[in-house]
Amino acid sequence: MSKLRLATVWLDGCSGCHMSFLDLDERLLAVAEKADLVYSPLVDQKEFPAGVDIALVEGAVSSEDDLHKIQVVRARTRILVSLGDCAVTANVPSMRNKFPLQMSLDRAYKENVTLDPGTPTQGVPALLEKVRPIHEVVPVDVFIPGCPPSADTIFYAVSELLEGRSPDLSPRTRFGA
């Protein structure tokens, strides 16, 4: 049987979900027997490839770049998984949503800065007015809440998906877990 194509994606999150994924430790070998990691911040592949079976996406949608990436991921992926609270609820990144974007930018780049105050525009993607959970932007197939979801939870979910089953996540994780 040919291996499934697995990808992991990092949008606006702290990378904690990826750390938790790495905490699978030797169980990563079990995953690698069933799937090839075709795209991830952990491998050297610049372009999100076509024909991905499962994409684990960490992070909320906060910038033009996130928005573009998630649309590409959705178009090229069979099963899109929202991994962790930032992806599922927009979590900590969404805490700026109650202020107008310009207020957050001024706070970060002008009010508290002594050297060269000013909002950066070169080489960084423009921020969206509001941070959104992934499923408010594109359809999502599986939700794994948790900040971060534990390695056990991720292993369970990925194993089930690799076997073609849909994981039952409520007993194992929750918002803030």
Partner: protein, 239 residues
């Protein structure tokens, strides 16, 4: 005071029960290990039927009835779990999450929160409605406690405990519908309240991270509610 009580017989989920006439459907369910979700109800406080999470179907009634504030009746036939009820309950809970700003991972009540626990129990892995992200304040003017309106679900437990048990009536509501807020005194800072005795009862009955003790960090705010049944019982015995 001992009141004459009559016994009613009823069916819940096709099982037979008997109950005192002054007990609610929720009381009977609770005593018999039947799970009905609830969040505004708290034993020891008067029922208000505010959250609607405990809605059940009662044969012969074309409305859904709140189990926490519906008294048992002779021959009543109650159904606690149907597809429709589950859907309504999930919707209600999801709306509570969208109405304010719930960021569990950095909340004082993470891991000890009734809202969070119920969401997990009702199989909510994400929220279907769009989040509102309202701009709400935290009042940290009190010496020992804070109120974070971002986490309040307007259950009124604080209002009831402060009025009915402590007798101070510091808390109340201001505004209508989605704009409602809990307030202390006449919407004055909690710290300058002339009625608050500083007893902390409101903090401990609050089901979420909206009311908490100062100095508690993420996931550190454990609530103790054991005092409530004792206080209510003692008052009944002495009245």
């Amino acid at each position: 005071m001992i009141r004459a009580s009559t016994i009613k017989t009823l069916k819940i989920d096709d099982r037979d029960f008997s109950a005192r006439h002054d007990e609610t459907i929720l009381d009977v369910a609770r005593q018999n290990g039947i799970f009905i979700p609830k969040i505004c109800d708290l034993k020891g406080l008067s029922p208000v039927g505010a959250c609607r999470l405990c809605l059940v179907e009662v044969k012969g009634s074309n409305r859904l009835l709140p189990a926490c504030s519906t008294l048992v009746e002779e021959g009543m036939e109650v159904t606690t779990t149907t597809e429709r009820l589950q859907r309504y309950r999930r919707n209600i809970l999801e709306l509570l999450f969208t109405e304010r700003n719930h960021v569990c991972s950095v909340c004082v009540s993470n891991g000890h929160c009734e809202l969070q626990t119920l969401a997990q129990k009702l199989d909510i892995t994400h929220v279907h409605f769009r989040y509102r992200y309202p701009n709400l304040d935290v009042d940290a003017s009190h010496d020992r406690f804070s109120v974070d309106h971002n986490r309040c679900i307007l259950c009124s437990r604080c209002v009831r405990v402060c009025d009915e048990i402590e007798g101070a009536h510091t808390w109340d509501f201001m505004g209508r519908g989605i704009e409602s807020l809990v307030i202390t005194d006449l919407a004055e800072p909690w710290g300058t309240s002339e009625t608050c005795t500083g007893c902390g009862k409101c903090v401990h009955v609050c089901p979420t991270g909206a009311l908490f003790e100062k100095g508690k960090s993420v996931a550190e705010m454990l609530k103790r509610r054991e005092f409530l049944p004792y206080l209510t019982q003692m008052r009944e015995e002495h009245s």
